[in-house]
Symmetry: C2
Subunit: 89 residues, 2 copies
DNA sequence: AGAGGCGCTTCATTTTCTGTAGCATCGCCG
DNA sequence: CGGCGATGCTACAGAAAATGAAGCGCCTCT
């Protein structure tokens, strides 16, 4: 479960999420969107780049593997919406 | 993305994973399976119980919402297998 | 009584995260 | 050219979290 270990680090899933739909964000924009301090963001980005999930190409974007990841994440996101609305009641 | 925040904590996804297929584990068995020290496990279990993902019923098991989560996790697990085998090459 | 399993708790150490500040670089505009 | 704003990213001190080992109190079974 190495992948779960990587994605289970603070902010990792959030970064991937913010780069959904082929978004290209600058370091600072990503920092604002993911609500992470620069040090953490930079550490996380290094790991995600090493894992070939995030690519740098005129800003940060998902690699093709990262795009697959977003697709695989869809059911989880659906679940989290249901979960959030269920908790409100 | 409160759910992602919760699941993005160390060991959280791993705990859910170890409870897949309606498994019922004792605290110590879960500790061994998830490779977590008791303090961390206990903290995480408290969060997961508060989120109604894990239930205590003669041991730790997934709640019905937790079972839904496992299903939603399937594509991600598939992706992580592909990812792991791709990294080996 | 003793042995073993149980769910935790405690504690000291190490690791990680946070938040602010700021550096060096680049492109743009007058 | 000289400044201006934005960029990616580093530095640092303090806070928070995780780690690993030890062990407590409780229960059950022999």
């Amino acid at each position: 479960m190495a992948a779960l270990d990587l994605l289970g680090r603070r902010g990792a899933l959030r970064i991937v999420w913010e780069l959904r739909e082929a978004r290209v964000l600058t370091f600072r924009a990503l920092q604002a969107a993911a609500e992470l301090p620069p040090g953490t963001l930079n550490t996380r980005l290094a790991e995600l780049r090493a894992a070939d999930i995030v690519a740098v190409d005129g800003g940060y974007r998902l690699s093709s593997r990262g795009a697959d990841l977003i697709i695989a994440l869809w059911p989880l996101l659906r679940w989290s919406e249901d979960w959030a609305s269920a908790l409100e009641t």
